[in-house]
């Protein structure tokens, strides 16, 4: 009674969900046969329309299992179940490794941060930029009704780019569409289209003014 309904549930859960309908159909085909059917499904009278697809699916799964087996250092029997079990264990093991190593790294870093003699190299961009004759500048051009094109050159500093973006988004209430940033010789070049958010119209002069102020602030840091 209950056992039988479980039979069908199991049969469909064994195969993957997308194929479960096909399997049920296959079973109906089987029942129509009067002959014995081979449990392995190798019987020539297996009248499934999806035989090739089914076979391909099985082959695909089989080859992937082999691949999994090759990656995992198996030490047990090489049948489907143990491959999966070993893979699960191996993944867990690797994750523990990663956690341990990263903790170790953090500890070492914390330890070294306490050392007074440890400092990070600072970038000294302004010397470079000036050496190469690059001047900071801000160019603003109106493209469409509410689209402006901006070109900004400024000194490269840690966190400088972030400040610039923040200024554009927060203070101007603008959105950067299609941005390009490149750095060389201690200078940063930003070209971008900016649009006012929610249909806000940007005034070109205002934009230029704010951006100039921002890059001044960055320089002075």
């Amino acid at each position: 009674m209950a056992g039988y309904s479980n039979l069908f549930d199991d049969m469909s859960s064994v195969v993957d969900e997308t194929n479960s309908n096909r399997i049920c159909r296959n079973r109906k085909h089987r029942r129509n046969d009067d002959d014995d059917y081979d449990d392995n499904g190798n019987d020539g009278k297996f009248k499934s329309k999806n035989l090739t697809a089914e076979r391909r699916r099985r082959e695909k799964l089989k080859s992937r299992m082999l691949e999994l087996r090759s990656v995992v250092p198996n030490i047990t029997n090489l049948n489907k179940e143990t491959i999966i079990t070993d893979a699960i264990d191996y993944i867990k093991e690797l994750r523990i490794s990663v956690t341990n190593l990263s903790n170790q790294l953090l500890d070492m870093e914390a330890e070294m941060a306490n050392e007074p003699s440890f400092e990070m190299i600072q970038i000294r961009p302004e010397e470079n930029m000036k050496n190469w004759g690059i001047e900071s500048e801000v160019v603003v051009t109106r493209m469409e009704e509410n689209k402006l094109w901006v070109k900004i050159v400024f000194e490269k500093k840690l966190g400088g780019f972030t400040k610039l973006i923040e200024a554009i988004i927060r203070m101007l209430g603008a959105e950067l569409v299609d941005t390009n940033v490149t750095t060389t010789k201690g200078a940063v070049l930003v070209t971008s289209c900016i649009m006012g958010t929610n249909g806000k119209i940007l005034v070109a002069e205002k934009v230029q003014e704010i951006i100039l102020d921002t890059i001044e602030a960055i320089k002075l840091e």
Binding site: G3, F8, D16, E17, R31, R64, I84, V98, I165
Partner: protein, 385 residues
């Protein structure tokens, strides 16, 4: 000894239709109706019950021909002569006269019935089918003798079953473990799916494919971390050694040149070799991909250059967010390119790792995904107002 005449008197008792119906119903009423039993021809229970009056198989030569023919009873006309009780005695080993005969013959024939029998829990198969007959007993209270007869029937039926599928009694137990095994296997596939960070499709082949990729990614991460730890260890060793020297800036490069200059000393040279072998000559490379519901991140590290590709599916401008995270992770931004493509924001970041920082690929990816998803979540909340 069985008093056959008693048995044969009441047609009600002897109605194979009702018995069979009952057995069918008892075994698996709801599923049975799903079965395609066309190969049995249309068993019309109604007509059979209507023919109840005709199924006076006790006295007729061919009892309920419809029903029994439907069940494809073996041709054993001699045993079907109900009019001859003594004959029945002789053939007590055979159960052609038995009302349950149709049942016994019925069961092996449709293939699904074999599965049906297999699916029954251990105690509930034809072999020890006490309950089947028990029910009959309950309904026909006064037929204990029939029950005994049922045992003989059982054996016979069992014989049929045995010959039919060749496994006999063991099959049911085997099936229970088979089911258990399958359930276990499915559970394992699910466990694997839950371990992997980017589950794509939920079918078995995809789960295994994702697992393979994840294992490779984990291996790369472990390698990367090992290299970083080694480098740190060397730097720490250098620092301790040169603590006496009053030097404020201590970067990797200067350490290297200084140790070269010192030379000599077994200790130093050993460290130097280790340093050479591990850090400077070993180029660290690592990459991984992470996908969340609306973000795709690809992080590649070669030596100290990090390339990040980010695709955001919803209209959140993540440029500022990413820039902040990069600052936090001490990544020096060199190039950025990207913008709005349809509904997607797509960006490519080229950054350099600041010296001394030991950030690794999966840390970058995880942090980015976390931040972007959080922003997306907060945006959803605010936009719903």
């Amino acid at each position: 000894m069985l008093d056959n005449s008693e048995m044969f008197e009441s047609t009600a008792f002897y109605d194979p239709n009702s018995i069979i119906t009952q057995q069918m119903l008892n075994i698996d009423h709801q599923n049975y109706s799903n079965f395609n039993i066309e190969n049995q021809q249309q068993i019309n229970w109604n007509t059979n019950t209507n023919n109840h009056g005709n199924n006076n198989c006790l006295t007729s030569q061919t009892p309920s021909p419809d029903l029994l023919n439907l069940f494809q009873l073996p041709k054993c006309s001699s045993s079907i002569s109900f009019s001859n009780p003594t004959h029945i005695d002789q053939v007590s080993g055979q159960v052609m006269y038995d009302p349950l005969l149709p049942l016994n013959n019925l069961l092996p024939q449709p293939p699904f019935f074999k599965e049906l029998m297999n699916s029954l829990p251990n105690g509930f198969n034809l072999m020890g089918c006490g309950s089947v007959f028990g029910e009959m007993d309950m309904d026909r209270g006064d037929h204990d003798q029939m029950y005994h007869e049922g045992d003989a029937v059982l054996e016979f039926g069992g014989g049929i079953i045995k010959n039919r599928d060749g496994h006999g009694n063991k099959d049911t137990k085997h099936f229970a473990t088979e089911k258990h095994r399958r359930q276990q296997l499915n559970g394992k596939f699910d466990a694997l799916k839950n371990l992997v960070p980017n589950p794509t499709k939920a079918d078995r082949a995809s789960i295994v494919g994702d697992a393979i990729e994840y294992i490779n990614e984990l291996k790369r991460t472990v390698e990367e971390l090992k290299i970083l730890v080694d480098r740190k260890r060397c730097i720490r060793g250098r620092m301790k050694r040169h603590k006496t020297e009053d030097d404020s800036t201590l970067d990797v490069e200067s350490i290297y040149t200084r140790s070269n200059a010192v030379g000599g000393g077994g200790d130093t040279s050993h460290d130097q070799q280790a340093y050479n072998g591990n850090s400077t000559s070993t180029m660290r490379s690592s990459w991984l991909q992470r996908k969340s519901k609306n973000t795709e991140i690809d992080v590649r590290i070669i030596d100290d250059e990090v390339t990040i590709k980010l695709v955001q599916q919803k209209r959140i401008n993540c440029l500022l967010l990413v820039s902040k995270v990069l600052d936090e992770l001490q990544l020096d931004l060199h190039h950025v390119a990207g913008g709005l493509i349809g509904d997607f924001y797509s960006y490519l970041f080229n950054t350099k790792i600041c010296e001394g920082s030991s950030v690794y690929a999966s840390a970058i990816a995880n942090r980015l995904i976390e931040v972007v998803d959080k922003q997306y979540a907060t945006n959803l909340v605010t936009s719903s107002y």
